[in-house]
Amino acid sequence: MTEVASPQELSKEDLLDAYRTMRTIREFEERLHTEFATGEIPGFVHLYAGEEAIATGVISHLGADDYVASTHRGHGHAIAKGCDVKGMMKEIYGKAEGLCHGKGGSMHIADLDKGMLGANGIVGGGPPLVCGAGLSAKVRGTNQVAVSFTGDGGSNQGTTLESMNLASVWNLPVVFVIENNGYAEATSTNFSVKGIDIAKRADGFGIPGVTVDGHDFFAVHEAAGEAIRRAREGGGPSLIECKVNRYFGHFEGDAQTYRAENEVENLRCEKDCLDNFRRRVASAGLIDEGELDRIDEEVKQLINEAVEEAKAAPDPKADDLLTDVYVSY
């Protein structure tokens, strides 16, 4: 693990933004967890709670025209990349005003105007896409950067491994973030990557790889800053493995009997990224806890509205079934 980075390096505004993003993700996910139980939310929902520091720490370095490719567990990346939270909620409810007009749902939330290339239902689907976005930046001569997020499980998918090599060979402005949350569905990382650091795989493709604590916003932020700077400056791709945990099941409905007793309870106590952040900025005297509490309230309000509006929003119409397949046909 890299050394723990310090909050002092960020402006107060950046710190508040980061906190608001992490809190928004948390609130979004916790609320979905509750709402899912009512049976009103259709389909598969994979929650990001517990992993907020990664999406936030990485994406806080990106501008609106940088690119992100995400996973099935994509809400956090989308929120951090600036997708409209209410549009996301409506999408998850399958409504016509959803970000994808109800056609995509939780697993396919995207907003190309925001550089969000999409959540992805295919494990390992995203890394090839960021190679393309990186190539595009390179050919068009911009200094955009493209970041993919992939799980520990997804790090075993050939598409992911190939992409690291392609990005290396083409020297692309790309960062591969591996979110190692210890499980791929019910299968432990100890089994599927033999418990070794996934960052090691970078060596085999000639790119830098580091492992950081994914609960620690500051550690992620520092490692990502370096990788993204390198990418922007033409220094090529790198890999960042973030060791982290998820708070909920693989998807909503998962009984999680593969986990240790009290595993999540302990994690919530000891490793929570929001608690950690609060403690760090408070003890450094940078932000008054009251300000953070206010953000909590505002976020709660926002998510409340998002859920209410999503529930009330109209369904797509029958004609929508056949549109949006082609630009022209």
Partner: protein, 341 residues
């Protein structure tokens, strides 16, 4: 002795009985035990939907979790089959074929031909398909037409628990590579299933219902759509014959032709997308081989030429339903309002 069990239990039982009978049968896939390396239960999941639940406890060395590496483990099934095992590998959703198709179609399916008849590759790929659970564009496709297109593969698409068990047992015992399509909406459907082991031969259609007016060929979950349509049409005095091919490759062409030669009318119901579909395959075969018996244009009822949508409001329109089947039947009878599509 038959009891009522679910489609899922029927498959589970078939796997268990074959593992018991033949110790070269191995089962693997992502989370097929479902807890490898984890601090809790080793077999917490038994497959993402629980189809392989309980097998790990009974046959520990022969039920394996895998990394998310479909090419490697589906290819491992091919290699294992060519070297003495009868693997049953799970491709969790058939939608994932795009990351591992080579090992299925260029390797396993072609060994025998490329090697001049010397290879035997007895493997089964179990896979989930179909829309209906709001799983959106990458987890709801049907795709059996793509596999049916491939020489060297056998393609099984059971429509009920009884068939699921007998076809799974036959598939495991079969010496060719088989892909076994499990409609996820059917998993919870119950039916009478004998406890003892039995095989349903691959390539034999089932006459689900007899009738003289029109032949409906339907596969998988579409059989129940056809049955519901037939019930409704019966009230209108129309007698539908329903043929369930059960396997799309080999296809029991004779059973279909025999029915059409009697009824003179054909409707094919296929959950897949329309182009180069199973519906088109069967409609074309009938047009070519039973032309003189046809009294009306054959009709195809399929999903539209779009990916599966997420929203329940749209997905419910996506899958062929009894109304659309009945409408197609009426068109073949000239009793519909619209004379032509």
């Amino acid at each position: 002795m038959a009891r009522r069990i679910t489609f899922m239990q029927a498959i589970n039982e078939a796997l268990a009985q074959e593992m018991e009978r033949d110790e070269t049968v191995v089962v693997f896939g992502e989370d097929n035990a479902g807890g490898a390396g984890a601090p809790g239960e080793d077999d917490a999941w038994g497959g993402v939907m629980g189809v392989t639940k309980g097998l790990y406890g009974k046959y520990p060395g022969r039920v394996l979790d895998t990394p998310i590496s479909e090419s490697a483990f589906v290819g491992a099934a091919a290699g294992a089959a060519a070297s003495g095992l009868r693997p049953v590998a799970e491709l969790m959703f058939v939608d994932f074929f795009g990351v591992c198709m080579d090992q299925i179609y260029n390797q396993a399916a072609k060994f025998r031909y490329m090697f001049g008849g010397k290879a035997v590759t007895p493997m089964v790929i179990r896979t989930m398909f179909g829309a209906g659970i709001r799983a959106a564009a990458q987890h709801s496709q049907s795709l059996y037409p793509i596999f049916t297109h491939i020489p060297g593969l056998k393609v099984v698409v059971p429509s009920n628990p009884y068939d699921a068990k007998g076809l799974m047992i036959a598939s495991i015992r079969d010496d060719d590579p088989v892909i076994f399509f499990e409609n996820k909406v059917l998993y919870s459907v119950e039916g009478d299933v004998p406890e003892e082991s039995y095989e349903i031969p691959l390539g034999e259609a089932e006459y689900v219902r007899e009738g003289d007016d029109v032949t409906i060929v339907a596969i998988g979950r579409m059989v129940s759509m056809a049955e519901q349509a037939a019930d409704a049409l019966e009230d209108e005095g129309v007698e539908c014959e329903i043929v369930d091919p059960r396997t799309t490759s080999p296809l029991d062409e004779e059973a279909i032709y025999e029915s059409v030669e009697n009824t003179g009318r054909l409707v094919v119901v296929d959950e897949s997308n329309p182009r180069c579909s199973l519906a088109s395959d069967i409609a074309a075969l009938v047009a070519q081989n039973c032309f003189d018996h046809l009294k009306a244009a054959p009709r195809m009822v399929t999903a539209p030429h779009t990916p599966p949508p997420f929203s329940p409001a749209l997905e419910d329109l996506y899958v062929p339903d009894p109304e659309r089947v009945a409408a197609a039947v009426r068109e073949t009878l000239g009793t519909s309002d619209r004379a032509r599509a």
